[in-house]
Symmetry: C2
Subunit: 117 residues, 2 copies
């Protein structure tokens, strides 16, 4: 199995505006259960999911505003190669109810989530 | 036909590093013909294309570092709705050899390309 980009997450201090915009493009959103105090919506368009996270304005400059999520095979081998490239590994592979998850930074600092089911 | 996200474009001042990273995820890149003086690579992973544009460091803060490209139907109607949302339209729909193209900004300033074939 090769990797597959299946979700894009956008962090925004004006999530309602984003929902209206991406609905115009055809995404259908529903609110998602997240940590207390946070608001999130999950939209779907064909096979692509778009997640919108509401964040406080004061944090918006520091949060990566886009995260790309890939379903992968061989997550340990990918992490080793990422380590060889001297890139930042934000979260080492961790077992969870939905599979093994890791988060790395691409060379420009974009957040990349890897999930092996 | 509903919209479909088919390409993500990353602008980077260190494209070679990006190519190495995204190759680890399984993208296969080939260099692409662009304007004199610019370097660009197009990668493919299943149905998703990833384009990496080399940009000068000095411009990297001003360029949007991610562009999402959607194939759409009813581009004129979408543009009207985007206008109703008071969002910025960077390029009005324009006939080209690959179809009708428009570029708009999402509410946070991410660049969104719309293509109707």
């Amino acid at each position: 199995m090769q990797s597959k980009l299946f979700r894009i997450t956008l962090n925004s201090s004006q999530p309602e505006l984003l929902l209206r915009f991406y609905s115009v493009l055809g995404f259908h959103f529903s609110q998602k259960q997240v940590d207390k105090g946070s608001l999130a919506w999950l939209g779907q368009l064909g096979e692509m999911a778009l997640e919108v996270y509401g964040i406080k304005e004061t944090f918006s400059g520091r949060s990566p505003n886009v995260q790309l999520s890939f379903q992968v095979a061989g997550i340990e081998s990918i992490i080793e190669k990422v380590r060889d490239l001297k890139l930042q590994i934000m979260m080492e592979p961790l077992q969870s109810s939905i599979g093994t998850i890791a988060i790395v930074m691409d060379p420009d600092g974009r957040s990349i989530e890897l999930i092996q089911k």
